[in-house]
Amino acid sequence: MSKLAETREQLLGQIEALQARLDELSADETRREDSRGGAADMAQRRLAEAALREAEARFRPACDLNPAMMMIVDVESRTILDVNQAYQRRLGYAKQDVVGVPGKLGFAVADAAARHDVIRSIREKGRLSGYELTLVTSENEEIVVLVFAEPMDQGLHVISWVDITELKQVEACLVASEARFRALVENSHDVINMFNSDGQLLYTSPSIERVLGFSPEEMKKLHPREVMHPEDAERGHQEFRSCLDKPGAVSHFTFRLRHKDGSYRTVEVTGTNLLDEPGIHAMVSIFHDITERKQAQEDLEQSLRFEALLSRISSTLINLPASEIDDAINSGLRLIGEFMHLERAGILMLSDDRTRFSVTHEWCVPGLEPAMEKYQNFPLDSVPWARDHWLRGEAFNVPRTSELPEQAAAELEIAKSLGTQSYISIPIIVDGQVWGMVDFHTVRWEREWPIDLVQQHKLVGEFFANALARKRAESQLRDSATRLHAIFDHHFQLTGLMDCKGRLLAANKTALNFAGADESDVIGRYFWDTPWWDPQQQSTVRHAIQRAAHGEFVRFECTHIRVDGEVRDFDFSLSPVRDVDGNVIYLVPEGRDITDMKRAEEKLADMEARLAHVARLSTMGEMTAGVAHEVSQPLHAIVNLACATGNVLEAEGEPDFDDLREWNAAIAASAQRAADVVRRMRAFARRGESERSICFINEVVRESVQLVGFEARRCGASVGLELPEPSPRVDVDRVQIQQVLVNLLRNALEAMDESEIEVREVTIRVELAAERVEVSVVDTGPGLPARDELAVFEPFSTTKKDGLGLGLPISSSIVEAHGGMLWTESSAAGRAAFRFTLPALPMEATDGG
């Protein structure tokens, strides 16, 4: 507003100054006229003419420089006598074409009536001030001028036209809509246009250049159709037409205009029909450029559509079974690629050791060669630049492959081979671990990858990462399920699954094959009613299932008849399976064929018994001297007694019968003693079958001591017994336990015999503790060197010259076979102590041995 007013003030100021000059000029002319007359007049006239020429010479430039169009005219003859340069410039007519031609005056005035009006006014009043007139320039442009006229001498007049065309146009806009005009002025982006009813652009504001690149002048020379987007031209015309019919109508519409650079800008137009508005008489349109806004909006819409696409891909991936994930990823790549107008999209997966990568999924537009085949197990180190990004889990984009850095020479080569112009690489990260990358490529053009686009592609990477992770997990799970089933089926044991009622839900192949049954024969049947059990076992099995259903682990030995009729021994168990709440939901029956194991065990036991026997025989061999002594002692007595009896009987006289009776009894006792020794030895030497019997441990100890009695005497050692009364009872192979004791006793005796000690004692103590009997054999010998404490249990480890070194190992295995253990420890006094335990039977009320 203020700017316009200023312009207006300036113009009016100029006009006033011009007026003042014209007044001055005409006053001079009047003075020159007054001094005219006579010869003197001639001289004066010459002088005056000279002055006039001088004045003219002075004023001509002033006139020429005056921005107002000026002319000197003869109103009577309607002849233009002179025009200034502004006239020629603004109207476009050459001076020679208009000067001196009678009747030419006013030819440029568009309206004939106005022309006459003006000429008549000048002729009658001699002067005219501020008359508004429309002129047509040589280029057929209408301009609005204010007309000023001043009379000169000789009936001539000076007429000046002041161009107010722009002013008028601006005023028209002001009148049409003060508010909009203000907005227009304040928002320099808005462009104001005025059209006549033919659609010809009368005016456009300079801001047009900012929007469309054309200057207002260039713009005016263009037809609206040349500027309009071809698709919008018809609509624009319609809008204009419909507006044209309704004076004062305001319409809003949007269309695209061509920028000088050939691109199209979208403008939002407000059109107003002000044809009837005084001083305007134009269709006024104001538009502003919304290309960016529209672009942003389109981008937003694009982005929303993209997000919708992503979420579709994502939900597809989430709901798919693992087997279909690969296809879904491939189609996801295609959808994104097509949507983004890309040419190639692919997934590169790193090897487990992160030294190689392979293209696992790919989409590319038809005509491009897929990269998948070429990039399998490709060394990661061959693309160091990309590798560093990848391993750091960084997304990166390359708008122009030609601008790849020097160190990415290999990457550039690959891009060239693929025809890639620009690409983006997004890491696939699962649990913080980089698994691979999603790559998107363009081939036909380069493109920028704005930050939000990169973000969205990162989302793609995440979707794929999740899907791939799920696929891997599921495939592992499936593998694991397959494996589990394989284990189940091919398990060496017979196994299955049943519900708590005992109905069989599954049986493994081993079990089915064992019974020669098909699944259909057994599944759904009560377990005790299956071919594995014979009728006698049914109640046992039912009872076991009831117990297991109450949460008990049930285990027992049984026999199953194999399909070939062979009876096999089984270690059978029922394990309850509980749910998270602890309720038993299934039972797992399991049968371990222990036939062979049992046979092996029996064989082993037999072998051990035989070995023990051999060891006993060996011991007996070593004990021969002792045995001989034990037997020879009573035999010796018998011989002597018999001899004595013989002597008495042969002597003369009456024999002493008391003596004879006494000796006879002694013979019997001696013979009994010899018989005892023989019996003990025969028992000790008996063949190796293991014979368990319940016996009193004290008896076993005493018998053992008797077996080594001679050896104890021979080395001068006493054997002390500390036996509890009543004697604990044990279920043992009597002879084998004797063997152990004899072995320990003889070891003790020998150890003491070889040493220089004075006091030679072996003490056997039996103690009952909890549910076991502990027997200890402690001697007063030098004890065992510490390092020998374990070594003595090693077979063939012996310090004896003639020992086999089997005594302790066999003793140990005998004790272990009885469910006890044998160990050694050195007592505080450095004596050797051997201890062994045996499971004790509950005490009986009656006294033991």
Binding site: S632, Q633, H636, C643, A644, E662, A669, G716
Partner: protein, 204 residues
């Protein structure tokens, strides 16, 4: 000094011990039994006649140790060693120590009987020998030192005149002393005298 011979039986085995005592009794010989060598040693008095029947293996002192001890104590009791566990070295050692018999248990019929009989006989013989020697010693003890001096030289085989010359006495004196020696020693010849002197042990 108890004149009656006794069989001393040392054995830790009661049956064995009893049977040996029975055998002795059946031979009409007194028997005493001990369950250990120590017990026997405490009881036995030097000079008691008889014999010892001992087992080798016993608690405490063994039979062989007992034999050694008797020897050390200069007790000439004949010893019969018995063992159920005979070894040659052991028997040789026992023999060296002067055991009369070494028997293995069980011995053959009458073997022990004979051994006891022999042992008692030996004991009796030894004792008779000892008594004879004592008699000779008593006879020699009756000699004067001059007579003794002449006897020693006679035993060495010196002639009377050599003796007279060495001793610086007359030959008659030598003959007188010599006669007195023959009378006191109750011998009739130089040979008898030599045997008598020899049997009394080393010449003092």
């Amino acid at each position: 000094m108890a004149a009656e011979q006794t069989v001393y039986v040392v054995d830790d085995d009661e049956l064995s011990r009893g049977s040996v005592c029975a055998l002795a009794r059946s031979m009409g010989v007194r028997a005493e039994s001990f369950s250990s060598a120590e017990q026997f040693l405490r009881h036995y008095r030097k000079g008691q006649p008889g014999c010892l029947v001992t087992d080798v293996r016993m608690l405490g002192m063994s039979g062989l140790e007992l034999q050694q001890r008797l020897k050390d104590l200069d007790i000439p009791l004949p010893v019969i060693v018995m063992t159920a566990y005979a070894r040659i070295p052991m028997s040789v050692e026992a023999m060296k120590r002067g055991a009369v018999t070494f028997l293995e248990k069980p011995c053959e019929e009458n073997q022990l009987w004979e051994a006891i009989r022999d042992a008692l006989a030996q004991d009796a013989a030894t004792r008779a020998e000892f008594e004879r020697r004592d008699e000779y010693r008593r006879r020699l003890a009756a000699l004067t030192s001059a007579e003794r001096e002449v006897m020693d030289r006679v035993v060495k085989g010196e002639a009377n005149k050599v003796i007279a010359k060495r001793l610086g006495v007359s030959i008659r004196t030598v003959e007188a002393r010599r006669h007195e020696v023959f009378r006191k020693a109750q011998v009739n010849s130089v040979a008898e005298l030599v045997r008598l002197v020899m049997s009394t042990g080393p010449v003092k």
